[in-house]
Symmetry: D3
Subunit: 67 residues, 6 copies
């Protein structure tokens, strides 16, 4: 019954990679806490690099500055 | 003043259906807890079926397998 | 498979009221979008009035000022 | 280490305005609580006006009705 | 830079189990997408069983009914 | 009408500091995007240091190790 929300920057993540994340997060909850995979929900949200900030600047700015 | 966030898979939900969800959620908070509709916020997020997982696999995979 | 998150101020909401919210939100998703109740998850979060702001002030302040 | 999530309606917010929001939110956390900007994350989510409700109706409806 | 939010029911999860979840989720993002652990944030939220609903009823009710 | 969610570690933040955060976030949205303070909602969530992870370990562990 757990709910896992993964937010990442939107940078061409393939459906295969997303499937791996979902499988891995579901197994993690099963292995650590014994949670039932059948009712474990994982939602991935992809955020534009203009909309993600760290260190007070957007990821778009950081990439331009070689960070 | 409540805040309601509804996450659903992105599958051609019409503006009319979204308006119904918003109206219904707002009324629910009013009827059960007496919350003022004027300050009740409802946000619907539509998630790609590649990005939604349940049972350890994506909804895209489940649909292909007839689940 | 929808996920509904309801945030409200923490003001002695009874377990019965919470059960009503969960039942009502689940039925709303079923009636409007045909979603399966068995996999509809509803999570209620109760937020201290010191931690909830609207109009630039906390709900605690607003209550003191008779708003 | 704080995490700030800003949800706004999707109405042509420029990358410059988003950068200002991210800078401002990061400084707020630094000024008020002494949080380290280097690990402060800000995520902006833009929500379609069909998907945002207040007062029991969508923002799209409200705009049509001149609200 | 990813942000992972794990919501589970509040049922005596030990600090050790929480540390395992955080380590596992961080490694998952590193292994699948090459994300830097140093800026990967994981937040666990524990929700009272009265406040978590599935199948239209609270987890508290389900436990009483032997589900 | 914006919604701002601020997650921070739970470390004795006073009601006065919380009020400052709420005022500051509301003004930021007004100054940058012209948003109406009357319908701007800010919710602060305080997370136990056992439940917050960065760099693959909990904040509790990091504090012990002098990080």
């Amino acid at each position: 019954m757990p709910f896992v929300n993964i937010k990442i920057t939107n940078e061409d993540v393939t459906p295969e990679k997303k499937a791996e994340l979902i499988k891995g997060a579901t197994e993690l909850l099963k292995n650590v806490l014994g949670k039932n995979p059948a009712t474990t929900v994982v939602v991935i949200e992809e955020i534009d690099t203009d909309n993600w900030g760290i260190g007070g600047e957007t990821v778009t700015q950081r990439r331009k500055n070689g960070k």
